[in-house]
C-alpha cells in the first residue's frame, strides 16, 4: 500500500513541480496548528506545577511524572514505592482495546473478503451499507447499545423467548460490554482498509496455489494473508489506537467503575482533581506508547520491503 502511494506521488511531483511548496502549505498549516501546537503545549504543561482547582503555575516540576510512577502513600509522605495504580489502568486499557481489535478483526476480515469478492458493480453498495450506522452520533449509538444489551432489554428477551437461556445474561456494566462497545464503534476502520487490500489482490494467485495442490487453509495463510497484510495492520492500528483513548464506551457500557486511560485523563481536567499537569503527563505517556508501537510497525515494513526488493 505504501509503495503504491509513493509511486503515485512521484508522478504528481513531476507534473506540479513548481507549485509543490504551495500545494503542501494547507497540509503543513493544518498539521502545525491542529497537531503540533496542542501537543507541544501538552508537553510543556506536563512539566509545570499544578495550580489548585485547575490551571498551571509556570514553574518547572516533575511532580506529574513522579505521581505516575511512584507511590508515596495516601498522604504523600511515605518512602516511594512503584505506583501500580496507573500502570494497571494503562494495562486494562491496552487489554480492552486489544480484545476489541481482535473481535473487529475476526468479524471484519471475512466481511471485507466477502465485499471484495462480490461483482464489481455491487461492491460500493456493500461498503455503503457498512457505513450507514456510522452516520449516527457515537453517543447515541452507545446509548442504544446499552438499551439493547441490558438485563430487561430486547437482546435478553429474545434469547429467553427462544429458550436459549432461562435468566437474563448480565452484560451491561462488564468488561465484555466495553469490548463490544469499542468493537462496534470502530468496526468500519477495520473493514475498509482490509477491503481495499483484498480488492487489489490478484485472485489468480489463489487459483495457481490451488492448481499446485495447496489446501484452502494454506492458500489463505501463505498467499492471501501476506498479500493483504498491510491492510490488516492498518485496520488493527485504526481500531486499537482510538479504542485505547476512548471513554464513552467504558463510562456508559462499563458503568465507569474502573478508570480507562481516557476517563483518567478526562477526570484531571473536568473532575474535582483539576490536575492539568498530571492529565498532560498521562497523555504524553500514552502518546509515547502509541508512537513506539507505530515505529516498530514502520521499521518492520521497511525491513519487509528491503527483503522483497
Amino acid at each position: 500500500m505504501a509503495a503504491g502511494a509513493a509511486s503515485g506521488g512521484s508522478a504528481t511531483t513531476d507534473t506540479y513541480k513548481e507549485s509543490r511548496t504551495w500545494l503542501l502549505m494547507p497540509a503543513w498549516l493544518t498539521l502545525s496548528i491542529l497537531v503540533l501546537a496542542p501537543v507541544s503545549m501538552m508537553l510543556v504543561y506536563s512539566f509545570l506545577t499544578k495550580e489548585f482547582r485547575g490551571g498551571v503555575i509556570w514553574e518547572f516540576s516533575l511532580a506529574a511524572y513522579d505521581q505516575f510512577f511512584f507511590d508515596r502513600g495516601l498522604f504523600g509522605d511515605e518512602a516511594p514505592k512503584i505506583e501500580w495504580t496507573y500502570i494497571l489502568i494503562f494495562w486494562r486499557s491496552i487489554w480492552q482495546a486489544g480484545a476489541a481489535t481482535l473481535l473487529s478483526l475476526a468479524i471484519g476480515f471475512p466481511t471485507a473478503y466477502f465485499i471484495a469478492t462480490r461483482p464489481e458493480h455491487s461492491r460500493p453498495l456493500w461498503v455503503f451499507l457498512i457505513t450507514i450506522p456510522y452516520w449516527v452520533n457515537l453517543l447515541i449509538r452507545t446509548v442504544s447499545m446499552k438499551f439493547l444489551l441490558r438485563d430487561q432489554g430486547p437482546f435478553n428477551d429474545l434469547l429467553i423467548s427462544i429458550g436459549l437461556i432461562d435468566s437474563p445474561l448480565h452484560i451491561v456494566n462488564t468488561n465484555f460490554a466495553v469490548q463490544l462497545g469499542l468493537f462496534y464503534s470502530y468496526l468500519p476502520f477495520m473493514v475498509l482498509p482490509i477491503y481495499a487490500a483484498v480488492e487489489r489482490y490478484n485472485f489468480s494467485l489463489s487459483e495457481a496455489a490451488a492448481d499446485l495442490y495447496a489446501s484452502k487453509w494454506v492458500t489463505l495463510r501463505r498467499i492471501l494473508l501476506p498479500a493483504v497484510k498491510p491492510g490488516v495492520i492498518a485496520g488493527c492500528i485504526l481500531v486499537f489506537v482510538p479504542s485505547m483513548g476512548s471513554f464513552l464506551a467504558p463510562d456508559l457500557l462499563g458503568g465507569a467503575k474502573n478508570f480507562m486511560i481516557g476517563s483518567l485523563i478526562e477526570e484531571q481536567f473536568k473532575g474535582n482533581a483539576g490536575n492539568w499537569p498530571f492529565g498532560a503527563a498521562a497523555s504524553m505517556i500514552l502518546m509515547t506508547m502509541v508512537l513506539i508501537l507505530l515505529l516498530i510497525y514502520a521499521r518492520q515494513q521497511a525491513r519487509a520491503e528491503k527483503t522483497e526488493g
Partner: protein, 345 residues
C-alpha cells in the same frame, strides 16, 4: 423628494430607536442549560427594555474553567452552586454587592440570608435549591430506606444494583455522613477509614453515572440510585416505583445562586435582573419550570401546588441534618483525589 423625506424619517426613527435600546443596554448571562424559562427573560426585557443574551454550561467546574481561561469581563451574572460560590469568591472572580444596592434583598428567606458559603450574601442571591440523597425501588426492597447503609452496606436484595453519582464531591460527602465524620476532615485515621469503607462498598455497586442517574432507575437497571431530588420525582412520574430517602445520618443539600461577576460589563443591569429574580412571582416561574424550591419569601401563591406536595421536598421528622458539600483545602483535596483514584482504579 418626498421619497427621500420618507427614507430619512425612517432612518431617523431607526437610529432613535437604536439609541434608546442601547440606552437601556444589555445583560449577558452565563447560566446552566435549560434552567430558566424563555418567557421570564422576555418579561424582563418587556419591563426594562434591556436585551438579554445567555450562554450556557453543564457543570460548575466547566464554568469555572471557562472564566479562569479568560471569559471574565464578558459576563455579568453566573449561577454557581453553593460550594462553587465560595471557590469563586476565593479566586477573586466575584464583585461585591454593597448594602442598599438590591431593593429586594429583604425578600430572601431568613434561612438563606446568611449561608455558610456566602456570609451576609455579599456576592449572591438564592436561585433554586434542593437535596441530593438516593432513591430506592420499592418493588425490590420494602425495608427501612432512611439510612446510608443502603448505599454503603446494603441488604442482600440491593447488593450489586446500586448506581452512584460519578461525582467525587457528592460521593465523599455522603460517605462522610455515613461514617459520622466531618467533611474534609484531615484526621489521618478518619481518611484511612473513608478509603477502606469506600473500597469495600464498591463491591456492591453496579455503576457510577450522573447523566443517566434517572434513566437507570426508570429502566430497572439499578434498584438504588444516588440522585438529586428533582430527578427522583421525575423518575416516579416516568413510572419507576421509587421512594426518595432522607437518611437519619443526614443528607446533602445544594443551592444554586446568582452571583455578580467581577468586571461585569453591565453592572447596573445585572443588579436590576437580580432584583427582578427576587420578586416572588418571577422566581416562582423558575421553580415551576425547574421543579426545585426557591429561597424567596412569598412564593406560595405563585408556585404550582403539586410542587409543594412532592415527598422529595418534605423530609420526615426522622431525617438527619441537611449539609452542604464543603470545600476542602489543597492538602485534604489531594488525599480525596487519591481515595477517588483508588476507588476507581
Amino acid at each position: 423628494m418626498k421619497n427621500l423625506m420618507k427614507i430619512s424619517t425612517a432612518a431617523l426613527a431607526l437610529s432613535l430607536g437604536a439609541t434608546s435600546a442601547s440606552a437601556e443596554g444589555n445583560l449577558v448571562l452565563y447560566h446552566w442549560f435549560e434552567y430558566i424559562p424563555q418567557e421570564l427573560l422576555d418579561k424582563f426585557t418587556a419591563e426594562t427594555g434591556i436585551n438579554v443574551t445567555m450562554d450556557t454550561y453543564d457543570s460548575n467546574e466547566s464554568m469555572l474553567a471557562s472564566l479562569k481561561a479568560g471569559a471574565i469581563g464578558t459576563y455579568d451574572l453566573a449561577v454557581p452552586g453553593d460550594y462553587m460560590v465560595k471557590i469563586m469568591a476565593g479566586e477573586g472572580l466575584l464583585d461585591t454587592i454593597a448594602d442598599g444596592e438590591l431593593a429586594n434583598k429583604g425578600n430572601i428567606a431568613r434561612e438563606w440570608a446568611d449561608p455558610s458559603f456566602d456570609r451576609g450574601r455579599t456576592h449572591s442571591i438564592p436561585y433554586q435549591w434542593g437535596s441530593t440523597s438516593f432513591a430506592v425501588n420499592r418493588d425490590v426492597y420494602q425495608g427501612d430506606i432512611n439510612t446510608t447503609d443502603i448505599l454503603f452496606n446494603p441488604p442482600a436484595e440491593l447488593a450489586g444494583k446500586i448506581n452512584m453519582l460519578d461525582s467525587q464531591g457528592e460521593v465523599m460527602a455522603m460517605a462522610s455522613l455515613h461514617l459520622g465524620m466531618e467533611q474534609c476532615s484531615n484526621d489521618r485515621t478518619q481518611l484511612k477509614d473513608l478509603n477502606a469503607m469506600l473500597t469495600a462498598a464498591k463491591a456492591n455497586w453496579a455503576s457510577f453515572n450522573s447523566d443517566t442517574a434517572k434513566e437507570v432507575l426508570v429502566s430497572g437497571d439499578a434498584a438504588v440510585g444516588q440522585i438529586y431530588d428533582g430527578f427522583s420525582a421525575k423518575a416516579r412520574e416516568e413510572g419507576a416505583n421509587v421512594e426518595y430517602a432522607f437518611p437519619v445520618q443526614g443528607y446533602v443539600v445544594w443551592m444554586d445562586n446568582v452571583v455578580l461577576l467581577k468586571d461585569a460589563p453591565n453592572r447596573e443591569n445585572a443588579l436590576k435582573f437580580m432584583d427582578f429574580l427576587l420578586e416572588p412571582e418571577n422566581i416562582a416561574a423558575v421553580s415551576n419550570y425547574a421543579r426545585y424550591a426557591s429561597g424567596v419569601n412569598g412564593v406560595a401563591d405563585f408556585v404550582d401546588p403539586e410542587l409543594a406536595k412532592l415527598p422529595e421536598g418534605n423530609p420526615p421528622v426522622s431525617a438527619g441534618a441537611p449539609v452542604f458539600i464543603e470545600v476542602c483545602n489543597a492538602e485534604t483535596q489531594a488525599v480525596y483525589d487519591k481515595i477517588w483514584t483508588n476507588l476507581k482504579k
